[in-house]
Amino acid sequence: MKALRWLLLAVVLLIVALLAWWWFGGGHAPTPRSASKVSAATLADPQRIAQGRYLAIVGDCAGCHTAQGGAPLAGGRVIVTPFGDIPAPNITPDRETGLGDWSFEDFWQALHAGKGRHGELLYPAFPYTSYTRVSRDDALAMFAWLQSLPSVHQPDGKSSLAFPYSVRNSLKAWRALYFREGGFTPDPARSAEWNRGAYLVQGLGHCNECHAARDSLGGTPADVHLTGGQIPVQNWYAPDLGTRRHGGLEGWSAQDIVDLLKTGQSAKGAAFGPMAAVVSGSTQHMSDADLHAIASYLQSLPPRAAAAEQPVLFDAKVLTEQGGKVYTQHCAECHGKRGEGVAGVYPPLDGNSSVTEPSGINATRMVLLGGFAPATTANPRPYSMPPFAQQLSDQEVAAVVTYLRRSWSNQASIVRAEQVRASRHTPVD
């Protein structure tokens, strides 16, 4: 009996030790620059640096690592998540507050395996779930470019994550569910263009980080790819990117996709909200070859299942009628009586995936906020839309958005005044 008790104690102690290891363990020493297999001359190669600059634009590093009005890539922008705020770190070559002491091996470990310099697990606000597919050569070029930047001394902000998320090792469980260290394996059955597109979309472009729904743990299941979802906290809906039947971009030609990414607008719709920032900071600068490659890949996404039939609610008719009046008064002058838009100036609303996306939040917020189409080299003086937040009541916005979503060829669900009210409180950064 006594022996059994001792055995039990031993088992308990073992479990505690294992848990402690799970919770606290996992660190390792950084690779010192002197021990790096990459020479200083390799990092100083101007051609590699230029290539790295281009790739960093493709990956839109500055989108997170440059704060509003801040020095380029010196960090400071706060990434808001349902789990707390995570400030993006300084990635300039400052020795104390940036990547000045990092070797390429350290950088590769962060990008590829989602681990910091001392082996600490990185929060997936840094999208290593996608970046793990980036090739070593491309990572090396980006590192060379980052190291060529002027160093900026700016300590990283503090995260506001709550327990247990504040303990980095809690990510072990998250990673077991949502992260596989990997790479990009080209599909020999497909063209080189398609493979390039797949590599960019799945890897550096990290499109899936927004264009797929996240679950309650903030992860995206491995089999969910570009099927659209609402971006947590930011509350914009990143649409499904399929161009085939029932896809969010159903009917978009390769040229429509290239146009949107290059100029900010296309015959099918315009970029706005977070995508406007992506176009302006990243995609407009991409080469035509890369844009066509992305289009070729997106066009190959499989057809989607039809959305469940929306039950026609008793108030849909009343809302739509009221919305029609608001539309005639405020919208038709620019978007046309049939929602046809004006080519190159105002996007069409008929058949526009941003109008008909499942949540209705995009059209609601566009009506409230208005704003300019992205300014790009191709469209440096964009037209704009008035914000209607001050002019229209929640009920009027709900009515006009419902009208848009159920007129012409559009057949989406209604939007209610309560949803509009909630959208008035969402952040606009």
Binding site: R338, V342, M385, P387
Partner: protein, 249 residues
């Protein structure tokens, strides 16, 4: 064996031409239906004019959306840049201008700077004669004991502003003026360092803010409301917006 073509019989010709006209008519009415969008800056900046007015007249009645008409172009361009950089905080403005390139911001600023719109009276709060007098004092003389410079020492003798970067203060609503002074104190409105207006606002008491805003808003407009020429004043403080880089006194 060539077949001679029979001329169209008049009746058929009439039917065919009617049909053709109907087609043309239909497409013409469809075209007439389509929105006609002028390629003008005014049309492009509908996002600005829907609140600030087509000519930048603002909303003098409520004072909520400030007047932009006739303010110095460099001042307006600076404000847009400050919204973009988060120095000046107002979410709808930050959202609206966040991706616009400097050349476009400048063009928009010049558009509003060039607008000539008569000023209109705005409602005043009930303030005592003593407060108005204190306000007038701050405008013309400042308060040397508290190192508050006179408004006129920077904003011009007639308070119509000074080219290129100092805005006029006359003709603006009380609500707008007091809200701006408050924003400087709470750092929701700031600009490039050294931020001289933040320094001045921090030296004003809340009662001073009411007094000076009321006095400015109740002033009669001068005959010429244009900003004074550049270099016509010597500011008593170092201001980043005026090109100063050092610390102010």
């Amino acid at each position: 064996m060539t077949k001679t073509r029979r001329p169209l019989r008049p009746r058929w010709f009439a039917v065919a031409s009617l049909f053709a006209f109907a087609l043309i008519g239909a497409s013409a009415s469809r075209a007439a239906d389509a929105p006609v969008i002028p390629d003008t800056l005014q049309q492009r900046i509908a996002a600005c004019t829907s609140c600030h007015g087509v000519h930048g007249e603002g909303t003098p009645g409520s004072g909520y959306f400030p007047r932009l008409a006739g303010k110095p172009a460099a001042y307006l361009a600076r404000q847009l840049q400050d919204f973009q950089n988060g120095l000046r905080k107002y979410a709808p403005m930050e959202y609206t201008v966040r991706q616009l390139p400097p050349a476009y911001l400048r063009e928009i600023a010049e558009y509003f700077a060039a607008q000539q719109v008569p000023y209109s009276r705005s409602p005043l709060p009930p303030v005592s004669a003593a407060a108005l007098q204190r306000g007038e004092e701050l405008i013309g003389k400042g308060d040397p004991a508290r190192r508050i410079p006179a408004c006129s020492s920077c904003h011009g003798s007639q308070l119509t502003g000074v080219e290129p970067s100092t805005p006029g203060l006359v003709g603006l609503p009380y609500d707008y003026l007091s809200a701006q002074l408050g924003s400087w104190r709470t750092h929701t409105r700031s600009t490039v360092a050294p931020d001289c207006m933040a320094t001045v606002a921090s030296r004003l008491s809340p009662a001073d803010i009411t007094a000076v805003a009321a006095a400015l808003a109740s002033r009669e407009l001068p005959a010429d409301t244009h900003a004074q020429p550049a270099g016509s004043v010597t500011p008593p403080l170092a201001c980043g917006v005026l090109g100063a880089t050092g610390d102010d006194s």
